[in-house]
Structure formats: C-alpha cells, structure tokens
Chain length 225, copies 2
C-alpha cells in the first residue's frame, strides 16, 4: 500500500492549500455580493435539469451564470446557454472534482461585479467533490429517487458537508419501480447532518421547485445584503 | 494550477506501477483458473442487485466470491453474505477507486485455488475507477435507465474501456418518467467502443439476466479451461 500512502500525502498538502484559497475566494465574493452555489450529485441525478428550473424561475429577479464542469463534452453548458443563462464550460480533463483554482478559471470569464448568483455544476461524482472545497458559500447535493435510500450509509461525507439536499425525481415515488423510503432516507441524513435542509422535488414535473427557490432567495438576500 | 500538475505527476507514476501489478495479477489468476470480474457504475445503478441475481443463477455451476469496495459501511457485503455468497468488505477510507494492491488485500482473504469466479464491486463512481486497472480479466459497467442516455458523452473513458455494458432498470423504459432512448445510447456507446457487449436487463424483474449470465459462462469457460 506504499502507492496509496504516497497519494494521500500529496492530496493532504493540496487540500490544505485549497482550504486557504477557498476562504479567500469566499471573502472576495461576499465583498462583491455574489452568492456562489456548488451543486453536486451522482451522474444523472439531475443537476442540469435543476439548474434549468431554478434559473428559469429566478431570471427576473437575479443576474445569474453557471460554471459547468465536465470530464468531456459541452452538452450541459449548451442546454443552459440555449435557455438564456450565461454558461462557462470547464473541461476537467479526467479530474474527478473541482478545486478553487479550477473554479477561479471559470470566474475569470465572468463579471462577478454584476452577477448575483453563480452556480457551479460539479463533476457527477459523490466521492471526490465532497473532499474539495470550491470556495462556494453554499454546498448543495442532489440525490435522485432511483439511486436508492441507502446512499447516506455509503457516501456519508457528501451528506455531512452539504447545506441542502435536493431529493429529485419524486415523481418515481409510489410507482412499483422503486421501494425508496423518504422517511428512512431523511432519518439517515439527519443522523449525519443535523443542520441540512431537505427539498423533495421533481425537476421534470416542477413539483416542489418553489420551496427550494424560496430558500435560495432567502439565502441570497442574507448573503448579498 | 500548480497543485493540480503536482497531483497528475504522482498519479501517473502510481498508474505505471499499478499497470505492472495488474498484469502480474491477471497471469496469476489465469494460472489458477479464476476469472476476476470488475463491476463499475454510478452510485445506485444496481451493482449489488446485479451480483445477487448473477450469483443466484450461477451458484450450482461455480464456486464464487465477491470483493465489496465501499468508502464506508458494510451494507452491500451483508446483503450478499445473507444470500449465501462469500463476501469480503474493503473499506477504501475515502479513496474513490480500487487499485491492484487494494484488490490483492481482498484476494488474500479468499482461496483462489477453489474459486471459479470472483466479482469486484468497485466504488460507485464513473470517473476514477475507469482510470485504474484492478487486475480483472473482465471490466463490466452498469448504466441504469434513470441516469439518462447522454452518459457516454460525459464519461467516455468508462464506456471505452469496458468489455460489457449492462443497461439496468429497463423496466423504467416506456413509462412517462423517462425519455431514455436505447438506440441512441447504443449508437453513442459503439462510437467509443466497437467491441463492447451490451446487455439491457432489469435486476428487479429478472428480465434479460439469462443473456448476461450465458455470456459470462462462456467467458469463464474460455478463461478457466
């Protein structure tokens, strides 16, 4: 296991540097009244669909942009740009997460002085993005119903660090396709994170989106005042 | 981006060592007629359910075991052990993938001389496990219908390296819940990997499982003769 130990040491030093960069970035964005929100989930849980619903509902109220991270491809950024949202594509070139220098590259292409909300769509992954602070003021994760209610047991760090948990695809509940137990899921999540806000919704049908955007609006008002 | 460059260099050297370990392990397992199969997917795509279906159908024919990798928890290993399959739990302690030394730790607890098939249930992640050879003779990935048909565009390496692709949860097809296009998905996958075998199935209903286990049986016969 010598290889693994070597890797851990390097990662620890990178994380310590990253932690400092993250705090600096948070202060800077607070000063220019821009709320940075980091969205994380497994592949296919619905990050882009949630962003489309969210930006569509808040577009008259806020100036917004999205930083899209992908190993490859530009399909998500194109979907967002097509909907009228300013979208910056970051190709991580194999990296499994974003760190602050990568987010900063995205921010360099945006005018933070005029933007109220900037969303980061992190790489689809429940493991690595949980370990790296992006400098965001809010960390939000999405769990979709078809993934199952046992995920807090398997990926505890992600559930522990987030400010909000979106439970997406609730239109799958109550079908014979899944035995997802919303109450059991919430109990497992609360055990890891007493302060997390939970928003069951469906980005496909729109159900529950307003409760999430109301919360976000309040957070933005607090942060950007 | 200095931090990131530092990380890449270390990973490259680790990967070169790992490559050699993987080839050595493959030769060793070939000599003792044990087929090692590496199963990868996003969280919640159905790795454990597929293993339960597969081992249940092949239990009279083969001696089998499962090496379970999890960041935390033992729930999957317990489900398998409960079904009568020998299961070894590896806790990766935050690592987002398995490499050969970690797999070897699992194998050290198993009697490879008597086992015909050993399955690795890798960490739920479409990014990192694609980059690290485990020493398995077969790499198999699972994509579940609710994740969407655009995943080959976003995680091309995983689709490029696998011998087989299981499309799980096909019982979701044809409902109003998803617009997953199986033909389009297959076209996108074939563009990345001309040799991959694709098995649409449902671990929940059992539909399509036999075609997958027949293929696996043939692969085992070739490998272990």
């Amino acid at each position: 296991m010598t290889d693994s130990v070597k890797l851990i040491k390097v990662r620890e030093s990178i994380q310590a540097d990253n932690e400092q960069h993250a705090q600096d970035l948070r202060q800077k964005l607070k000063a220019c009244k821009t709320l940075l929100i980091n969205i994380m989930s497994s592949p296919g849980a619905g990050k882009t669909s949630l962003l489309l619903q969210t930006t569509s509902r808040l577009k008259d109220e806020y100036s917004m942009a999205v930083i899209e991270a992908d190993i490859d491809s530009t399909v998500d950024a194109e979907r967002l740009a097509h909907s009228g949202v300013e979208a910056i594509q970051l190709r991580t070139g194999g990296f499994c997460h974003l760190d602050v220098p990568m987010v900063q590259q995205g921010l360099d292409s945006l005018d933070t002085d005029v933007l109220d909300l900037i969303f980061i769509e992190n790489v689809g992954n429940l493991v690595c993005p949980a370990e790296f602070d992006t400098g965001a003021a809010l960390d939000v994760m999405i769990l979709s119903v078809p993934e199952g209610d046992d995920k807090p047991l398997k990926y505890p760090l992600m559930f522990s660090k987030c400010d909000a948990l979106i439970i997406n695809k609730i239109d799958y509940l109550g079908t014979s396709l899944t035995d997802f137990d919303l109450k059991l899921l919430e109990k497992r999540v609360r055990k890891l994170n007493g302060r997390i806000r939970i928003f069951p919704l469906s980005s496909r049908t729109g159900e529950g989106i307003d409760i999430w955007t109301d919360w976000l609006t309040n957070k933005a008002a607090d942060h950007n005042k």
